[in-house]
Amino acid sequence: METLLLSRIQFAANISFHILFPTITIALGWVLLFFKIQYNRTKQERWMEAYRFWVKIFALSFAMGVVSGITMSFQFGTNWPGFMETVGNIAGPLLAYEIMTAFFLEAVFLGIMLFGFSRVPNWLHTSATFLVAFGTMMSAFWIIVLNSWMHTPQGYEMIDGVAHATDWSAIIFNPSMPYRFTHMVLASFLTVSFLIAGVSAFRWLIGGRTEGVRVALKTAVFGAALLIPVQIFVGDLHGLNTKEYQPAKVAAMEGNWETDTGVPLILFAIPDEEARENHFEIGIPNLASFILTHDWNGEVQGLNDFVSEEGEVLHPRVAPVFWSFRVMVGTGLLMLLVSWTASYMILRRKRGVEGLPKPALYGLVGMSFSGWLATLAGWYTTEIGRQPWLVQGVMTTKEAVADVPAPMVLSSLIAYLAVYAVLLIAYIYVIFFLARRMSRGQPIEPLTQQPKAPITRPVPAE
């Protein structure tokens, strides 16, 4: 394989692994703040019980996110030097603001949030929880600003092949940013809702029926049920925005080759890149036209419009975009079904969590990581959908890649993949291990065990 493809796979592997953890921490921080505020307000121990369990998962996810994030910032230089050389004047300040306003905030206050409950006044602990949640949100904001700018660039001019910023507010509030940011934050909240619901259902099933599990499960199921319709609506708006600015991506998502009116919504097909057509197509007549133009006979642009006169293909590969889009939508619909059914069962005759029959609980356990699946599928849709561009209309991916020998990239790729596979297994294993441990009534070990000899003296007053 050549360096370009290997570098792309390596970056994709890294960023796929990385995004799993911010997807959890972005929303989990706010959920923890919610637990903490509920505790402050009601003084009921069950909220603190939920907080104590989930703050551990937060710490674990945060560490995974930090270390895989550091990898990303280095890969810009090791594999994609052309990116910063061309658009560094725009990407640079955005990344700098992310590090300065977000990374430090979350990293510093995390210590107080995790280990400070008995060391600092309660208000400071609550504030630390807020600042960590706010920090993760800020970090998501800046990185999505940059990512969106790569999809819908504006507010710059090219001088000697290098982008120079002309209007920062146009850069920050570029056309796809509000949609992408909202879509991602909601995705994060849904991921966390299903994770909390799944792990709580697991604890409930194996007999850990504490009050803390009960409130966490209810919060998560109702949260998911409320947010999923909003997410579907926002997703639709995001799609319309993409149609306006990146029509080739939408054409690939729909698997639509020819520009036409009254285009069907394709449910299943095998796109054939060589023949430039679909095989085994099953579709609903006129529905794609209706979704994209809100008119049953609206005109929808096809992929064949994005082939230059010389035959150069200027649209992404169709199959990956087409399929990942369907995986995302399918998972979203499943989330709708599961969360609404579970909410109905809980609310029916006010039976609470007891109203959930075993199959429903198993269903929730099975959906624990559905958010990850949908988020990854969504990112693949939008990122592969931007190809062959790295920055839409400004530079192609090929132009940015470093001239590192292919075997070198291959060896680093294999090393990363091995580490990531082990860590992912360990991560999921530890979450369920902690859940089992809690359910058996064993408290989770503190970060360090009590020293054997009483060598610890009280903290001297300073």
């Binding site: 560490a63 030097p81 050389e85 990344l95 300065m100 470093a402 001239d403 990363y416 070990e445 360090t448």
Partner: protein
């Protein structure tokens, strides 16, 4: 932007200074927690927990300084960022995997079932070692001008060992400050055993740099510069002697001045770093690319600078808050 003269001159200088400061803060702060990881095999199991507790609340923020340093290089000197990191592709990869291992081992060793804890302890040690060695290797390669020759690689292997021992030294001084009794006495021993790494490391780099580059040689050994610079090596020498004699008498009565070795070690880093910065200025890629050639457009640098002026003091403030909250001897880390 034009208040201080030509922005294409002062902005790159300011950013080089900021980047230098971040690297310096990083090597001191992450230096001590990497060093604690490197010292892991010398500690008993209960001591390991205590050592982890002494760095637990800080390591995340310490590593963020690396992100800031590399981020500033990325945003302010994009050309240099690409050139340096592609030249150091292999050690960078090893360092990143090391950072991943030790970062997650922190969490996993406390949360995984007891039988797995030993494995995560090893991962923590291995990750810390990989990170320290590869950073030392990169330092050596950088000093030698980023050329992969046998001679340069050999030198880089030496600096890799020296920096790792140097980190373990500053890690030991941190443990002296944060613990007491048996472990503290042990840490004094580690510090005594590790100080040579620092001395040889600083010595090797100070000797090598002037001979690799005639430009650097002239900067140091011409009159009257040599006179102005003489306090640097003299102070460093005095610090080493002072540290050595102090460590032989530690721990002091009532645990007085347990922070002194760490402070002295930090001062030593600062001096060594100052010397290096003087040698390489104005180059960001040694003898190839100056900070002025590699810098981003002034408009972009300026907008980052505005943010930096507001945010950096804030970061300092809450970093101090965190170190204050977790001051004193390291006690058991609890989530509640």
């Amino acid at each position: 932007m034009y208040y201080f003269g030509n922005p294409e001159v002062w902005l790159p200088f300011v950013f080089a200074a900021l980047m230098g400061a971040s690297i310096l803060i990083y090597v001191v702060l992450d230096g001590f927690d990497l060093g604690v990881g490197v010292l892991f095999p010398f500690a008993e199991d209960d001591e390991k927990d205590r050592m982890i507790a002494s760095i637990g609340p800080f390591w995340d923020a310490n590593e963020t300084w690396l992100v800031l340093a590399i981020g500033l290089m990325l945003v302010a000197f994009p050309a240099a960022h690409g050139e340096i990191l592609t030249a150091l592709y292999l050690p960078v990869t090893i360092m990143l995997i090391g950072l991943i291992l030790r970062g997650v081992a922190f969490e996993f060793r406390a949360k995984a079932p007891a039988p797995h804890k030993r494995a995560w302890n090893s991962a923590f040690f291995a990750g810390s070692l990989m990170t320290s060695l590869s950073q030392g290797f990169m330092l050596g390669m950088y000093v030698m001008g980023l050329e992969w020759t046998w001679c340069n690689t050999g030198f880089a292997v030496l600096t890799a060992v020296f920096l790792t021992v140097g980190y373990s030294f500053i890690g030991a001084t941190w443990v002296i400050h944060k613990t007491d009794e048996h472990l503290q006495r042990k840490a004094v021993g580690w510090a005594q055993g590790g100080i040579w790494g620092l001395v040889l490391g600083i010595g090797a780099i100070s000797l090598a740099t002037p001979f690799v580059s005639a430009r650097i040689f002239d900067k140091w050994f011409s009159w009257p510069e040599a006179l102005y610079l003489s306090p640097l090596p003299i102070l460093s020498g005095l610090l080493v002697v002072w540290l050595w004699s102090m460590l032989r008498r530690m721990p002091f009565e009532n645990d007085n001045a347990s922070w002194l070795p760490f402070a002295a070690a930090t001062a030593l880093w600062v001096l060594a770093f100052g010397g290096m910065a003087y040698s390489f200025y104005p180059y960001v890629v040694p003898d190839q690319l100056t900070i002025y050639e590699a810098a981003s457009a002034p408009e972009s640098l300026f907008i980052i600078l505005i943010g930096t002026c507001i945010v950096l003091p804030t970061i300092m403030g809450y970093t101090i808050l965190a170190y204050t909250v977790f001051r004193g001897k390291a006690t058991e880390l609890r989530y509640d």
